[in-house]
Amino acid sequence: METFSNFIGGTIALFSDPIGILIFVGGVIGGMLFGAIPGVSMLTLAAILLPFTAHLSAEHGVMLFSVIYCTGVYGGAITAILFNIPGAPENAPTAFDGYPMTQKGQAGKAVGAAVMCSALGGTISAVIMMAATAPIADWAISAFGPPEIFALVFFGLAVAASVGAKTLWKGWLSILAGLLIAVVGLDPVGGIERYDFNMPYLLAGIHFIPTILGFFAVSEIFVQAEKKATGVYKAPKVSVDFPSLAELITHKFAVVRSIVIGFFCGILPGIGATLAAFMGYNEAVRWSKDRAQFGKGKLEGVISSETANNAATGAAMIPLLALGLPGGALTAMMVGVFQMHDMEPGPLVFINSPDLVWVVFAAMFFANASILVIGFLETKTIINLLRIPFQFLAPMILLLATVGAYAVRGLVIDVVVMFVAGVLGFFLRRSGYSVAGIVLGLILGKIGEQTFAQAMQMLHFEWSGFIDRPIALVLIISGLLTILGSIYGAFFKKHHSVDHAAGE
């Protein structure tokens, strides 16, 4: 009851202040727009705005960033669905099925599902955040150390290996290729230089954003250009048919599952929305009776990914506000906003500035809810971009992707990486390998390697140490069972997988 009255208090404070309303609306629209443009993400907007927050009150500054966070995570889904360009890494799994839906003339349905599920995932996540920030934060950091996070990554990779490739072996080879790319650069624990070929820029490693842009956007342009050249190109049909409520209700389990997964990934410091989206998608595939249809335009793929990544937003605020531990780059910038006002996020914020906390909570709730309204209006207009002929659209996408790749770190090598990934992706996709698997291997490889090394240090380099940590043990056993199950499937259900391959 106290939570509810605090929420009402925060809502009244938010909407009785004209400047607050202006900042709220600006944040909602700005987050969506910047989220939708690849490379120029919500992080770019946040970095531009950070110095200006010194001129706002602490309440307004933190509220602005939290609103940008909610809507920015959603904004990237639109370009992922329409052009196969994930606006941000957390929207990459959305493209797996969202873009094939566009090609089938179901863009409206895919974007509509993204709108509804982002709003739903984010809003529920905000409600849980309001109800139980402090106890959840304490539980997460005491129950989840490096061994548990490594086990979670292992489980994620085990599931992902069976997603998106023609055969199990090609799935694993894709994941392993991603893991191999992830080890380029300084090792995350000892700082040892690896695979840098005496090029200082390679010491920073291969960044996953240019890799995603290359594998998804650039290779897709090559694929479409080939179709155009060979005369088999068909422009996607433009449709603004939204999914019906009944259609979404049939996916209720996927939504609930993704909320749980997204929320859970969001509360782990340093993990966040990207892993949430991939795990949400992977689990949707794993639990589906109709696995072969994933990657070919299945609505459930979009639903799982977009619900999970927005469910991570409210969750990521929990360690930030309760403990002062930012989970990702945007929440780390929020720490900067606090500090500009001589405040530090952490337990004292709840004691010293309860008004600020509740205005932010209310703003996040309403930002997620407003995705529903503004998202629908935005969708009706933005889908018409598909009417632009390919010969004009393709150079624009290439230009945007190039700017996006360069903007990550201001390094030309990232643009080179993007084009190399584009060419590789073009050939890999024809040969039945999973570019999504490579990207996931790259993203999870970096987290997995670091947490594995930390876990081994913590467990004194004894593997048996995992047995004493029940959560890690359960996740590792689940991962092993998943691998065994997929091997069993590959060997003993031969005709079944041949059918799948034939359907590709």
């Binding site: 300084l186 000892g190 200082p200 920073a204 930012p326 337990p347 004292l348 240090q457």
Partner: protein, 342 residues
């Protein structure tokens, strides 16, 4: 290992620097510099670029922002920050060295650049290959435990407990090969005879979360970075890695109190320009960055980060002395540790 071997000139570079905040504010280091200075031939005629080899949210990103703001407030010249993270600062340094030496590009960097040069002389020496404009943050490290910890409560009981664990005790750290943290931990473990497993976290949040959540037994960190946990009463320092106790940590034993006889290593952050930049432009940049150190906004920022507990300011010559002494100290330690010094 005989840690006394490492008593080298850093002592003169940072000795007798512990003072109270009130002294620091009463007379700022660059009050004697002129209030304004005309740039040579109208320099700078456009915005400066500041290359920051780390992300915007960490300690380097924040000090870069605070200094850029202070210089802009003082001179009216805009500064664009260009973050190039990766490779423990190598990427930013390489990008900076490739820019034209015209004085329009400056570099923010930390003591890692000095230790990198100590390990590999092929890497730029910040004192010789660059011109330090100012070092604006110098800080010390501490060992922290949870405030509600009941297995040990202070430095002595911590050392006893760690020894009883026979190598099973853990401390969260940034234990990259040759890092300030790893070298300092070697000094401490050699001097006390305790064995402790260092767990390497390269990002702050998971590192602090590991102590808060009980994943590790202790934390090695600088006080400004964990101030919120100290103010909230979640963490408490049990050892200050300084010769004497700063006023703000009067209750925490120093190295001398704990009977640890080695020269402490410092974390420092500063700003640099190309050594081939035109001399008059360098002079103007030196004035701007050193004078900006005393701008109220910058002083407030340093205070909020506990950067006023020891003298944080070094002008160009002072910075060169500190960097050179630091490189010599690291090199001696690396050779003693058996690392390959190139």
């Amino acid at each position: 290992m005989n840690v006394k071997k490492y008593v080298v000139p850093v002592a003169t570079a940072v000795a007798a620097t512990v003072f109270s905040a009130s002294v620091a504010l009463a007379a700022c280091a660059t009050d004697s510099l002129p209030a304004s200075m005309e740039g040579p031939d109208g320099f700078p005629q456009r915005a400066l670029t500041m290359i920051v080899p780390y992300g915007p949210a960490g300690g380097s990103g924040q000090v870069a922002q605070a200094m850029a703001q202070a210089v802009s407030d003082l001179t009216g010249v805009a500064i664009n920050r260009d973050h190039k993270p990766g490779g423990s600062g190598t990427v930013g340094m390489t990008a900076f060295m490739a820019t034209p030496p015209d004085g329009y590009t400056v570099l923010e960097h930390i003591d890692d650049a000095s230790s990198a040069h100590a390990l590999d002389s092929g890497r730029p020496n910040p004192a010789m290959d660059l011109i330090p404009l100012v070092i604006s943050q110098i800080t010390f490290s501490q060992i922290y435990i949870r405030t509600d910890e009941d297995r040990f409560t202070d430095w002595n009981s911590f050392v006893e407990w760690v020894k009883a664990q026979d190598g099973k005790a853990t401390i969260a750290n940034v234990s990259k090969e040759g890092s300030m943290e790893r070298v300092t931990m070697k000094f401490i473990t050699d001097a006390t005879g305790m064995k402790i497993q260092q767990i390497s976290f390269d990002k702050g949040a998971p590192r602090y979360g590991a102590l808060a959540g009980g994943q590790v037994d202790a934390l090695f960190e600088q006080p400004g970075d964990v101030r919120k946990f100290l103010d909230a009463g979640k963490f408490k320092p049990i050892l200050t890695i300084l010769k004497e106790r700063p006023e703000a940590f009067a209750d925490v034993p120093s190295l001398a109190d704990a009977g640890l006889d080695f020269e402490p290593l410092f974390r420092f952050r500063g700003f640099y320009v190309h050594k081939d930049a035109p001399e008059e432009r360098v002079e103007w940049l030196q004035w701007a960055f050193q004078k900006a150190f005393c701008e109220k906004s910058y002083q407030d920022y340093n205070e909020s980060k506990f950067m006023n507990l020891i003298e944080s300011f070094r002008d160009t010559e002072g910075a060169r002395d500190l960097i050179t002494a630091t490189i010599e100290q690291y090199r001696a330690v690396y050779e003693e540790m058996g690392l390959e010094v190139k």
